[in-house]
């Protein structure tokens, strides 16, 4: 089994033009030219856009999760429609619509210009996914918990805010982390909002770099910067989960 594998490996090592490959993927002189913009603009924007859409998606997601669990039927219908719509459509389509159609159709300017509009689209998409995750977290908290809280005189809202949600969020840390990483990468879709020099995020920056230099160096750098965020993040979440484990 392994013979074939090693044979292939050797063949690649011998016949590949290593210098050409290295030159296409990484050239130190091009890499040097990217600083500081790739950090101060591209990385900063990627992180900023991710945080904004995650926070916005979380707030809306909680609202839609609560609406979906509401005893008021129209709330449930609205939340269900929202979730199905924005989860079912490609994120790119939603962003397109928010950037180019909604402002004209409804006759108002979304703050933050086209990127702001694109971010709102991303928030809507994130809220649809997160609403379902949050709902599952709420439902995973045993009924005895809210009964205990209610029997202490806590109102339904206080019971939700102080007892059920804090426990639900502990349960859904893994899928929420997943959502964060997905959003981090989905910020690259904002390129269709027509980035300016100052609103470029990593992928747009890297693609423009490819166009300008005819070389893949900026792509490799962007890839490394994405991993520089995601890998420590997942480690951090693992630590957080262990620390919260005693409160389960």
């Amino acid at each position: 089994m392994y013979v074939l594998f090693f044979a292939a490996l050797v063949a690649v090592a011998v016949f590949a033009d290593w210098e050409r490959i290295a030159n296409q993927f990484f050239r130190l002189d091009i890499a040097r030219d990217q600083f500081p913009e790739i950090i101060t603009i591209a990385l900063k924007n990627t992180v900023l856009f991710t945080l904004i859409s995650f926070a916005g998606g979380l707030v809306l997601g909680i609202a839609f999760a609560l609406m979906k669990l509401s005893s008021v039927a129209p709330y449930r219908w609205f939340a269900t429609a929202w979730i199905e719509l924005f989860r079912g459509m490609p994120a790119l389509l939603t962003i397109f619509a928010m950037v180019y159609v909604v402002p004209i159709a409804f006759g108002f300017r979304i703050p933050g210009g086209q990127v702001g509009a694109g971010l709102i689209g991303l928030i809507f998409v994130a809220s649809a996914y997160m609403a379902e995750v949050i709902r599952s977290g709420i439902q995973a908290v045993s009924k005895g918990q809210s009964e205990a809280a209610r029997s202490l005189g806590m109102s339904p809202a206080k019971t939700m805010g102080w007892i059920v949600l804090p426990q639900g969020f502990r349960i859904i840390i893994p899928p929420l982390t997943n959502e964060f990483v997905l959003l981090l990468k989905d910020t690259s879709l904002l390129f269709i909002a027509g980035s300016t020099v100052l609103t470029k995020e990593l992928t747009t920056y890297a693609r423009d770099g490819l166009t300008n230099t005819g070389n893949g160096t900026t792509l490799v750098m962007a890839a490394m910067l994405y991993l520089l965020i995601t890998i420590p993040l997942t480690r951090l979440v693992a630590v957080l989960e262990r620390r919260l484990a005693r409160g389960r």
Partner: protein
């Protein structure tokens, strides 16, 4: 023992409860007077837990009347959350809040419902922990405690609201046999101090020793009630006899 005069702490009349087509309570009349300890026994499915849970409206009765300290708590204008702060409840499964440490469990409702200050709530919490003999566990999380300790914390949590009466729903049924005693000891001390108590239990020893009255329920009705020692030694009703012959 308290004489049955004045306004009952809990007064149930013609109380009915159905789950769908299934009628669990078929017209219950029962009064619990201040300082009285009423124990409720009966086979599983007899409706004894449901009766207890309707008293603070964790279950909504489908018929009959329900008064606490003479106030009709089924009145739509009645603030049930305020009523519940005066009725402590202890559950079979403890239902401690796992995301909070013991002190957090004891203070959250004091602070969020009774609006007590942090210091005051903690002082009361510590006093109640001492009453149940767990002063050294204030910083522990529920998952770090034995079942018996958890149930004693649950009792302390209910007591920290300074309730006028306490409901116990099979408080020792989920405990290992060797841990039952420590919980019963706490309950006995409470009873001796004059707490009004309604206790659904299988602990005939507790009922005999501490109960002012013993109520036997079967099939959604009170079959027989009286002084515990008399009911236990010479039950009048055939169904009571059959039940006691199996459990004693």
């Amino acid at each position: 023992m308290t004489t049955a005069t004045g306004t009952p702490a809990i007064e149930v009349a013609g109380l009915r409860k159905s789950f769908g087509d299934h009628e669990v309570l078929k017209g219950i009349d029962l009064a619990v007077h201040p300082g009285e300890v009423v124990c409720i026994i009966g086979p599983s499915g007899s409706g004894k837990s449901t009766l207890l849970r309707t008293v603070n409206r964790l279950e909504e009765p489908t018929g009959g009347s329900l008064r606490v300290d003479g106030v009709d708590i089924l009145d739509p204008d009645c603030d049930i959350d305020a009523v519940r702060t005066r009725i402590g409840m202890v559950f079979q499964q403890f239902n401690l809040f796992p995301h909070l440490d013991v002190m957090g469990n004891l203070t959250i409702a004091q602070r969020r419902v009774l609006r007590r200050g942090k210091q005051e709530a903690a002082d009361i919490g510590r006093a109640m922990l001492e009453r149940v003999g767990l002063s050294d566990k204030a910083a522990a999380y529920p998952s770090q405690l034995s079942g018996g300790q958890q149930q004693r914390v649950a009792i302390a949590r209910a007591l920290s609201m300074n309730p006028d009466m306490m409901l116990f729903d099979e408080p020792t049924s989920a405990l290992d046999p060797e841990l039952v005693g420590e919980v019963l000891d706490v309950m006995k001390r409470l009873a001796a101090e004059g707490m009004t108590m309604m206790v659904v239990t299988h602990e005939m020893g507790f009922a005999r020793e501490m109960g002012d009255r013993l109520v036997f329920m079967d099939d959604g009705l009170i079959v027989e009630e009286g002084v515990p020692s008399e009911v236990l030694s010479s039950p009048q009703h055939a169904r009571t006899q059959a039940f006691l012959s199996k459990v004693l």
